[in-house]
């Protein structure tokens, strides 16, 4: 039996095993492969840097635990950058599986500051609201109309931070962390296009190619694509978080996939040649 025939009959579980080892190895013994922030990531950082200190920013975390490895690291870094500028943050979640996860991230990052960030003053979590694009449009008529109660059960209008928040005109920037639908595409269509609210996006890698046209057209000021985008963002901010730690494993897995694609083509070609003969 030739080596191509051996490969053709290879049990796929061997590939799973090799992938698991390639991912686990760099997590235990980091390779510290080089990483440098790309222009879309610089755009994300600069868009936040340019807003006035102490602004109130809208941050929509539209994801659930399935996207945690890609989106939570960039959420953490974005919160740190915003709070580093003493911004106040209004958080919404348009994915039903997300509010608990996002609330944990908010509590965790808020606790990093001396004395902590105060809920209702420095940030609010308005939580989840069913309705997708409807909610986005409704928020344009008044944020508290769309979210009468926050995630923690408070009357939204009674929170000090919400006293000066009416609608989209209250925010200089929208930071959207998106896992798909509803997410960046819908915010661009319903809010950026309609209310001309400047916007940046952090998204899962699988949806990044769909959002690059918005970056090229200037509708998005910056874009973080998946774990690589999150790792570049951490690098640009001088942090070393979960995304940076995961990138070595990511690179090794990509090498394996590339090798498998090449081998698959070689096997396919040899099979065709054998069939032709």
């Amino acid at each position: 039996m030739s080596w191509t025939q051996t490969l053709e009959k290879l049990d796929r579980r061997w590939i799973f095993l090799v992938l698991a080892l390639l991912v686990m190895g760099p997590l235990l013994f980091p390779l510290a492969l080089p990483l440098s922030p790309s222009p879309p990531v610089h755009g994300f950082v600069q868009a936040i840097d340019k807003i006035p200190d102490g602004s109130t920013v809208l941050m929509s975390c539209d994801y659930d635990p399935a996207s945690k490895p890609e989106l939570v690291p960039m959420t953490r870094t974005a919160l740190r950058q915003l709070w580093g500028k003493h911004c106040r943050i209004v958080v919404t979640v348009l994915w039903d599986g997300g509010p608990g996860l996002v609330d944990n991230v908010l509590r965790e990052v808020a606790a990093e500051y001396p004395g902590g960030k105060t809920y209702g003053v420095d940030y609010v979590n308005l939580g989840y609201k069913e309705g997708r694009e409807d909610v986005m449009v409704l928020m344009g008529k008044g944020i508290a109309n769309a979210f009468p109660r926050d995630y923690r059960g408070n009357d939204t209008r009674s929170l000090p931070l919400m006293a000066n928040v009416r609608d989209y005109s209250s925010f200089p920037l929208l930071v959207n962390i998106s896992a798909g639908y509803p997410g960046t595409k819908e915010w661009v269509q319903q809010v950026q296009g309609r209310y001309h609210l400047p916007m940046v996006s952090g998204c899962t890698a699988v949806s990044a190619p769909e959002y690059y046209p918005y970056l090229q057209s200037g509708q998005l000021l910056g874009l973080l694509g998946g774990m690589a985008g999150a790792a570049e963002y951490e690098k640009a901010r001088g942090e070393k978080g979960a995304a940076t730690r995961g990138m070595d494993a990511q690179s090794m897995a990509h090498v394996l996939v590339a090798v498998m694609i090449v081998l698959g083509n070689v096997v396919q070609r040899s099979r065709r040649q054998a069939e032709g003969a």
Binding site: V23, L27, E70, D96, N145, G193, A205
Partner: protein, 230 residues
């Protein structure tokens, strides 16, 4: 490097369930089935409870209760039906009724009534999507596609714009099916295929990255949070 397993029971449950799911990679087994069924059941319960407490109660039930007492968002206005923008009071009965009508789908002879609510939902979404697409996608993207092919002092921007324009036009012509793809149109559409293949390749690469990220996230959970390997 040494082991420091967590004492958090929640993380133990999460880790063991993750291993149950991973076991499917070897072959289908009762541990995988158990984790799968548990996930489906817990998810269903969670979503029902979440939607009840975050949608029905604050948006419908509580405002209706206040409205029956003649109160609403604006304390200066009294009256069950004294509605204004963002303060709909007793009129919320209407969306509440439309929501209830959706449940007539479970009653064979009355199931057609649910179409009224569905018609409203579809109409609203079609309107929102159409205007949103026109404003956010169509006009803005066409506008952004018109790029100067020569930028004084920035030759690479010009090269980039030329590649972009060639890719855009040839890809569009590939989808022009009113003439057979022969001759000039055939050659141009083959160039379009090249650009499309590059975009599919980029899309595939990003998809791989996304899926591998999930695996990395799970391994980080198992190695760091559960086993405490450091």
């Amino acid at each position: 490097m040494s082991l420091h397993p967590t004492h958090d029971a929640g993380i133990w449950v999460g880790a063991l369930l993750s291993l149950c799911i991973f076991s499917f990679l070897y072959k289908d087994n009762p541990f995988y089935k158990f984790a799968e069924h548990l996930f489906v059941g817990v998810s269903a319960g969670y979503f029902i409870a979440l939607r009840f407490w975050t949608v029905i109660v604050p948006n419908l039930w509580e405002p209706l209760l206040k409205a029956t007492a003649g109160q609403g968002v604006d304390a200066a206005h009294h009256g069950m039906f004294a509605a204004e923008q963002g303060d709909y009071r007793g009129w919320l009965i209407l969306p509440g009724l439309l929501g209830l009508l959706l449940f007539t789908r479970f009653v064979g002879r009355l199931s057609w009534v649910s179409r009224w609510s569905l018609a409203l939902i579809i109409g609203v979404y079609a309107g929102l999507k159409t205007t949103g697409f026109a404003q956010g996608d169509f006009v803005a993207q066409v506008q952004a596609s018109l790029q100067p092919l020569w930028v004084r002092g920035h030759p690479w921007e010009g090269v980039n714009a030329i590649i972009f324009t060639v890719g855009l036009l040839t890809s569009l012509l590939f989808f022009y099916y009113s003439r057979e793809h022969k001759g000039t149109l055939g050659a141009v559409s083959r160039v379009g295929i090249l650009f499309l293949m590059v975009s599919f390749g980029a899309g595939y690469g990003y998809t791989v990255m996304s899926r591998v990220s999930l695996l990395i996230g799970r391994f980080q959970y198992l190695l760091d949070d559960w086993l405490g390997l450091r």
